[in-house]
């Protein structure tokens, strides 16, 4: 399309700003994708109003197709802010993109009125308007997705930190209660945490409790065995506890074996085994 064509859109935006705003808000309120539970109509009006005035200002430069130009920077910043806040509020991508796409109808109606019977000019104007709004819409969707990814990444990181505490049960006995699925990256963190704490506390026994691990397949068993072998090389003994009956059954069916690692049904059994090895006896006080 030729870029030299003098579009009426900038003038139109300036002339009918309030009318366009009302029609656009109406279109947004009528849209089936509107989330009344997440967005009040006052917020909707405020963001629509702000976007429209930024769009008008950017459009006055006459550049309607190159969004990388500096004059479009405020519009893009604003849209990025809207996408980010909507991503964290829990909007879907289409609900977010509708914010831009619902502006098409009011704008097209105005353009039609303005161009009257000049169909060639109308086609030209519509092409420019639709390209502009599509680009803005795509930009919104892209920012939306990237902010969603950021949120997911941060949550994963938080989970990783939360999910691997090493607990000192007794002088010389550590416990590591594992919760959730064990994958390679988590096992790495678990392993490093445990070994580091073994060095710091000089503990000779470490109990790995897998009560909270939903399934034990060959891969999980291999990860656990690696941790146990590493601890053994450092001079600490590992006990695996919390193997539930179903897990014991599936392990045997799958042919998963923990080899010569000591396994116990519960953390209590493991602790009493460690006590016995260390020569500690627990007695009820007689009185």
């Amino acid at each position: 399309m030729n870029d030299t064509f003098a579009s009426k859109i900038p003038a139109l935006l300036a002339k009918y700003e309030t009318d366009l705003l009302e029609e656009w808000i109406k279109a947004q309120l009528d849209a089936t994708t509107l989330r009344k539970d997440l967005l009040s109509s006052a917020d909707l009006r405020r963001s629509s109003d702000e976007f429209l005035s930024l769009l008008r200002r950017a459009a006055t430069t006459g550049n309607l197709l190159n969004l990388n130009a500096p004059e479009w920077l405020p519009v893009k910043d604003f849209l990025a802010g809207v996408s980010r806040s909507r991503a964290s509020q829990g909007f879907t991508p289409s609900e977010t993109a509708t914010f831009i796409f619902s502006f098409k109808q009011p704008l097209f109606t105005r353009l039609q009125e303005e161009c009257g019977s000049d169909s060639r000019a109308l086609a030209e104007e519509l092409w420019i308007a639709t390209t502009l709004l599509d680009r803005l819409g795509l930009f919104t969707a892209e920012t939306f997705l990237s902010s969603r990814e950021d949120i997911i990444k941060q949550q994963q990181l938080e989970m990783l930190e939360l999910s691997t505490p090493v607990v000192t049960l007794w002088n010389g006995i550590l416990a590591l209660p594992l919760i959730g699925t064990l994958d390679s990256s988590r096992t790495q963190v678990v392993m490093e945490n445990l070994l580091q704490t073994i060095v710091e506390t000089g503990s000779e026994y470490a109990i790995i409790d897998i009560t909270g691990v939903p399934t034990v397949d060959t891969l999980v068993a291999q990860h656990l065995l690696k941790t146990v072998s590493a601890a053994r090389l450092m001079g600490a003994q590992c006990i695996i506890s919390g193997i539930r009956p179903q897990i014991a059954q599936t392990m045997v069916h799958l042919g998963v074996a923990f080899g010569d690692v000591i396994t116990k049904a519960s953390l209590a059994d493991a602790l009493s085994y460690a006590f016995k090895q260390m020569g500690i006896t627990v007695l009820r006080k007689q009185n």
Binding site: L195, I198, G202, E204, A231, L233, M234
Partner: protein, 126 residues
């Protein structure tokens, strides 16, 4: 040529590795240690590797070999103070090090050797 000192402590020999182990040094240690074990008729060997940050497959196998050799001479070897990173590396390399006893520090390693000596004396008495 530089050498790793071997210290005699009562019935035991103590080797503290404080420099980066290169292959030639490792081979020299293997020679020296077996000769000393036979000469001193030691009851146990402690190898302290707590200041060793890097262990490759060669050094790992050499430690295992030393343990096997001293066992052939009637002496147990305990490797003490292995760093977490080193332990992870050895496991990831797939080395089993099955001849080696390990302990967290020299104290615990010595206690382990004493316990084993006592156990073998008891066995002989029976």
């Amino acid at each position: 040529m530089e050498k790793i000192p071997i210290i005699k402590m009562g019935d035991f020999l103590l080797v503290s590795i404080q420099v980066d182990m290169h292959d030639r040094l490792a081979m020299a240690l293997q020679d020296d240690l077996t000769i000393r074990v036979a000469k001193e008729r030691s009851k146990g060997v402690l190898i302290d590797i707590s200041s060793l940050d890097v262990v490759d497959s060669f050094i790992g196998r050499m430690l295992d070999n030393i343990a096997a050799m001293t066992r052939a001479l009637g002496t147990e070897t305990v490797v003490v103070g292995m760093q977490p990173a080193v332990a992870i590396t050895i496991v990831e390399l797939g080395l089993s090090l099955e001849n080696i006893y390990t302990a967290l520090n020299v104290d615990k390693g010595m206690a382990l050797l004493e316990a084993r000596m006592k156990a073998s004396v008891d066995e002989n008495d029976e």
